[in-house]
């Protein structure tokens, strides 16, 4: 039942690794996952690349579509855009110089602090919020939030700040610099703490094409760097270091790092449940008088990103410690203002429809009514034994012809009790959902 829509996400189920444990179907905020034939399947057009499934998967069967590290060697100039929280993965005592040298030794020719662009972005954001007619303005920073709004809260799309996020602005800075230097043989790589940003770079929204060449998985790269450090590898290569960053830049990716710089009544919200709860209220117009909202789906923002290895609280604390040592301004800010600020506007973001039943409203109404009646037949315990996350989801699937009504184990037991279903039939249904192997060799 893998639906291949035009949207391509950054997550995939590795069928050979998946054990069909169903943990993922329970945590998906858009209910995009089902178990069938003993394996989890993603409904691509509902996936928002938040990575909640990745977090709970016990066998690492959720694959991340990052780029192969070796592809960096296709270019002469190889820039790695490094978020501050990468350095915070290590113990505070480990000097940055050591990490930079290892990154160079591993193959990059230049390293740059991603949040270099936030100082001018915050200025531009303040102007944007001041002039915005639709309030509150929602930050465009977290790609999973944008996708969540596209799928579940389309009426709030107009609230999203139509300015590029920091990574794209820093990448733009490099693109323009290489252009000025007449260099074409360059690759800009981004070291990502989450899958949302991979999706955002590979299939961006708002009529924009990212200058980022490839995305490197931070979890993978951390291991590579840490191993090199532990093995004390000899440093034979030189790397150009562009470490310019302000104290505000260092803190931007953690909770409150953005909202505290925006004038007016602002809020910062993190964690998927909090985010959904808040967006519901915002959509109902229950929330009034707020100018700007920073929203990130991970708890503790990017410090809690799924590819961030270290404990999120320790990571955030390291960032705070480091920030205290950094200057308020950095010397590249005028360049960012000159070369990037005029080009950071994006276009309207289109909704990604979650139409469940039918484009024809009459048909859809009938189906919704059937689903409502079916739901009353189901026990309401959301056990997931049918392969769907909730009884409600199963009812919808049955109406859409994607599941059978006797997939419900309660209903099946009733049928067996009445003598209307044989044991053999019951087993077959179970095998259809959970795979044949599960019921052999015990």
């Amino acid at each position: 039942m893998e639906h291949e829509g035009k949207y391509r996400g950054a997550l995939q189920i590795l069928q050979e690794v998946c054990i069909g444990c169903s943990h993922c179907i329970k945590v998906c905020p858009t209910q995009a996952l089902r178990v069938k034939g003993g394996k989890a399947h993603i409904q691509r057009e509902w996936c928002i690349d938040c990575g909640e499934c990745y977090r709970v998967c016990p066998t690492r069967a959720i694959g991340v579509k990052d780029d192969d590290f070796k592809t960096i060697f296709n270019y002469t100039h190889r820039v790695l855009l490094v978020p501050s929280l990468f350095f915070a993965q290590f113990e505070d005592e480990l000097p940055r110089k050591v990490i930079y040298d290892i990154i160079g030794e591993l193959g990059f020719t230049e390293v740059c602090a991603v949040e270099q662009s936030v100082d001018t972005l915050l200025e531009d954001s303040n102007l944007y919020v001041k002039n915005a007619t639709t309030k509150p303005v929602i930050s465009s920073f977290c790609p999973a939030v944008i996708r969540l709004i596209q799928v579940k809260f389309p009426s709030l799309l107009e609230n999203i700040m139509k300015l590029l996020p920091p990574i794209e602005i820093t990448a733009l800075f490099y693109q323009k610099r290489f252009e000025r230097m007449g260099i074409t043989d360059y690759g800009i790589f981004y070291l990502t703490p989450c899958v949302g940003k991979i999706a955002a770079i590979k299939s961006p929204v708002g009529g924009y094409k990212s200058p980022i060449t490839g995305v490197i998985n931070m979890d993978f790269f951390y291991n590579k760097v840490y191993l090199a450090y532990k093995q004390n590898i000899p440093i034979t290569k030189r790397i150009r270091i562009n470490g310019a960053i302000s104290s505000d830049g260092v803190l931007f990716s953690i909770t409150g790092g953005e909202s505290k710089h925006i004038e007016g009544n602002t809020l910062s919200i993190d964690g998927m449940e909090n985010v959904i709860d808040f967006l519901e209220k915002l959509e109902n117009e229950e929330i009034k008088g707020v100018d700007f909202i920073e929203i990130r789906v991970c708890d503790e923002s990017c410090a809690g990103g799924i590819l961030s290895f270290r404990n999120r609280f320790l990571t955030a604390q390291s960032l705070r410690n480091y920030s205290a040592k950094m200057p308020l301004k950095h010397h590249l800010t005028p360049d960012y203002k000159h070369y990037c600020s005029p080009f950071i506007d994006i276009e309207n973001i289109e909704p990604r429809s979650m139409v469940k039943y039918d484009p024809d409203l009459n048909v859809a109404l009938k189906k919704m009514e059937s689903a409502r009646k079916l739901r009353e037949l189901f026990p309401g315990i959301d056990c997931g034994a049918c392969g769907a996350p909730t009884c409600e989801a199963l009812a919808e699937d049955v109406v859409k012809g994607e599941a059978r009504v006797d997939a419900c184990i309660f209903l099946r037991t009733i049928l067996e009790k009445r003598g209307e279903l044989t044991l053999k039939e019951a087993i077959e249904i179970m095998e259809e959902i959970w795979g044949k192997e599960r019921f052999n060799n015990h």
Partner: protein, 124 residues
Amino acid sequence: MAGVASSEVKKNLKQLGVSPAVIKRVVVALYEAEVNIVAHAYRGVIRVEIAADGIKMVLEDEGPGIPDIGLAMTRGYSTASSTVREMGFGAGMGLPNISENATNFTIESVPGKGTTLSIEVKFS
């Protein structure tokens, strides 16, 4: 709790693929009406009927009723206490706001008995 009915209705309309702009009007109107029941009445029943061309919502409450509907429909007129106002409600925009978002809107009220609001929003 105010907001429960509007959230439920919103979910259904989204599943049906009704346009976000129309959903917003429905939700805003219904939420305002829900708040009114919670703020003024003793109890109330909300009946919602969704058809292919639009949605009808009838909110019937047992409560103090509205002595002067014309006055209640005036922007900024409010009987809310200062406590309620401090909570961000009671600005006297409720009924006018419902009226603005509805295609058809009627109020029937018997002082001392209760109020019935009929709100209809057409989908196109």
